[in-house]
């Protein structure tokens, strides 16, 4: 896909929704139509689940609080603890796989099956109050293509986690250092349907790659107030098992960088500051 393709996606939505906040005044017919269409934007919540029996019911209930009309899609994979039954009892649409699909593949599957115009991505093991999810949905309604959680991980340390470093580096490589460690790899985040289609559903399974595509494509990226997912995430002692998730995420970020370097040149379109390399070329 060319850069132009990505660029074309970012605009549109912003232009026709900039009047949303002036509700109550008389608008032109066009504006009214735009407003109605925005308010009618349907919300789909996508929740990949493995064995999340203790939390899944509350997660779904918070989604109902957020928007009673929301479509809640639970992508259960490799579940053995009855999470599927609980989700069904709570009235969610359940897509079930016997085998685990691997990290974040559930997001791709959920996005493909979602019918909404706003896609909100959550995790089954993390109960986030509806009040904190509301800004994600609202910002998409206001015209954003991507809404990220304003969460960079623990940076107040000399030894940050590999993934924290990788997220910062990816944003720098994308010339968006202002995004710091924000990433589509962190939940919650929301995408407009247009953005998800532009990124490609299959790429949502590798979140840093999706992030790179969204940023490089010039999508309209906004941030919602921080949800401290680091605290909500159950502590996994990666010190003893070699941190497989960290290694996976490191690979994901390298994959994203590889994609970026394929779109640009091997220096990410950065200049050489007048280096005369032929002076030292091997003879």
């Amino acid at each position: 896909m060319t850069r132009a393709d990505y660029m074309s996606c970012g605009t549109g939505a912003v232009a026709n929704t900039c009047t949303i906040h002036t509700i109550g005044r008389t608008h032109s017919a066009t504006e009214r139509r735009a407003r109605i269409s925005v308010m009618a934007m349907k919300l789909s919540v996508i929740i990949p689940v493995r064995n999340e029996r203790p939390t899944i019911a509350s997660v779904i209930r918070e989604c109902r609080v957020l928007d009673p009309a929301a479509e809640v899609l639970v992508v259960a994979n490799g579940t053995t603890d009855g999470s599927v039954e609980i989700a069904r009892r709570e009235g969610a649409n359940v897509i079930a796989y016997d085998a685990p699909l691997g990290h974040d593949v559930g997001r791709s599957v959920g996005a493909r099956h979602a019918s909404g115009d706003i896609l909100l991505f959550l995790d089954g093991d993390m109960v986030i109050p509806a009040a904190k999810l509301e800004p994600f949905v609202r910002l998409i309604r206001e015209g954003a293509d991507v809404v990220l959680n304003d969460y960079s991980g623990n940076v107040q340390t000399k030894q940050p986690h590999d993934v924290v470093v990788a997220k910062h580096v990816l944003n720098s490589a994308l010339r968006r250092p202002d995004l710091r460690g924000l990433s589509l790899a962190a939940v919650p985040h929301a995408l407009s349907r247009k953005a998800a289609e532009r990124i490609g559903f299959e790429n949502l399974a590798v979140p840093p790659l999706a992030h790179a595509m969204a940023v490089y494509g010039g999508l309209n990226i906004r941030t919602a107030p921080t949800v401290h997912v680091g605290k909500l995430n159950p502590r996994r002692s990666h010190r003893y098992n070699g941190d497989p998730t960290g290694r996976l995420m490191m690979g994901d970020h390298l994959e994203a960088l590889a994609w970026l370097l394929a779109q640009t040149d091997r220096r990410g379109n950065r200049h050489d500051f007048g280096r005369r390399r032929n002076e030292v070329r091997s003879r």
């Binding site: 691997g102 690979g251 994901d252 390298l254 220096r267 007048g274």
Partner: protein, 383 residues
């Protein structure tokens, strides 16, 4: 008035002491004499008269010590750890990477080359300290007439077989000042070569086994350079400048530092933190040049990535603060300045090199991700 009062006070103190302790107050020696006394603290009368330290052997040891103190050698004493390395060790032991540093200082004996590797006339003897390999320094310089002589003066204090100054694009007196030094090889290039190219040009000329890279704008005391030379002399292939004592939490890192950390971590060397061949001073072995190719020095992060991937021995034995002391120029200040942009490009180039060699995911696993399902190739069982 003031002076008089001061003198009165002093006299009063002397009187007080004299009457109470029944001891003669020492005369305040002139500044020059006091300094002399500091150099030879044992030359004063009473302590030599009897008791410990009065014997002939002790006197001999004392004189030897004094001689060592007075000859300002960058190598310190003859025992394993010099005063200098002890200090560095102290700085290092505060950081979490201290183990790496300690190892670099204490353990390089294992990598010492066999005795057969001695070359006649190549070992330099200063105060009894020998380097086993021939040493070279490469100094790159562009319009640095104020600092270049200081750099060279410090290098002269070390037993280099070659000092190579690569002067490029200079319009000031750098050349004239450099040519005043004896035993300095000058490479003159009228046009600027660009960042880091000078290092490769200098390295191509050098014939020594240990090559130290310096910048003409950053004088570093010879004592501070010894750890780098010594590490490579004893078997390391790359001795980097350890910058971790000078940076704070990750939140305060600039983009370039983040990239440096990332590159080392991707290659499985988190212990190297943000230490990089981008920063001077650093020393390399001949083996490194042969392995990564001299031309790759032109893009330092790429050379470093190649060195790590080839399993070369990399340490960070010394710390020189190049962050605060770097000369401020119009193009290297602020986030996203042209130099930072170039260094980020260097790191991306290094990452491309890594990905080319180790695959799109740099050898990291994909932990059983069923990608065909992500692509929607297999319809699922809707429950």
């Amino acid at each position: 008035m003031k002076g008089t009062r001061h003198a009165d006070n002093q006299r009063a103190a002397v009187v007080y002491r004299r009457s109470n302790r029944k001891r003669q107050a020492p005369e305040r020696p002139a500044n020059r004499l006091r300094r002399a006394a500091a150099i030879r603290p044992y030359a004063r009368g009473r302590r030599l008269a009897k008791g410990k330290g009065a014997g002939r052997a002790a006197g001999r040891a004392r004189r030897r010590r004094d001689v060592r103190r007075m000859t300002a050698s960058p190598f310190g004493r003859r025992s394993g750890t010099t005063h200098q390395t002890k200090r560095l060790h102290h700085i290092g032991s505060r950081g979490r990477h201290s183990r790496l540093r300690n190892r670099a200082i204490r353990k390089p004996a294992a990598h010492r080359p066999a005795n057969g590797k001695y070359r006649s006339g190549s070992s330099a003897l200063i105060n009894g300290r020998t380097f086993r390999h021939r040493l070279a320094a490469v100094v790159t310089c562009r319009n640095e007439q104020d600092t270049l002589p200081k750099v060279l003066r410090q290098l002269e204090r070390l037993p280099f077989d070659e000092i190579i100054v690569v002067i490029n694009g200079s319009t000031d007196r750098s050349l004239e000042l450099a040519s005043k030094f004896r035993n300095v090889t000058i490479v003159w290039q009228h046009e600027p070569l660009g960042h880091d190219i000078g290092r490769a040009v200098g390295a191509r000329i050098a014939t020594a086994d240990v090559i130290l890279f310096m910048d003409g704008d950053l004088p570093v005391r010879a004592e501070r350079l010894v750890p780098f030379l010594r590490a490579v002399d004893r078997g390391a292939d790359l001795a980097l400048n350890d910058l971790s004592p000078y940076v704070g939490n990750f939140a305060e890192y600039d983009q370039v530092t983040q990239f440096k950390v990332f590159l080392n971590r991707v290659l499985g060397r988190p212990d190297l933190a943000m230490n990089s061949m981008t920063a001077v001073p650093h020393a390399v072995s001949r083996r490194l040049l042969d392995t990564v190719g001299i031309e790759s020095l032109a893009v330092p992060p790429r050379a470093q990535a190649l060195a790590i991937m080839n399993g070369l021995n990399i340490t960070a034995p010394g710390s020189v603060d190049v962050i605060r002391r770097n000369r401020i120029r119009p193009y290297n200040v602020g986030e996203g300045n042209p130099v930072a942009d170039m260094i980020i490009g260097d790191h991306l180039e290094a990452i491309s090199c890594v990905l080319q060699r180790l695959g799109t995911r740099g050898g990291y696993p994909d932990t059983a991700r069923l990608r065909h399902i992500a692509r929607g190739e297999e319809e699922c069982l809707r429950a």
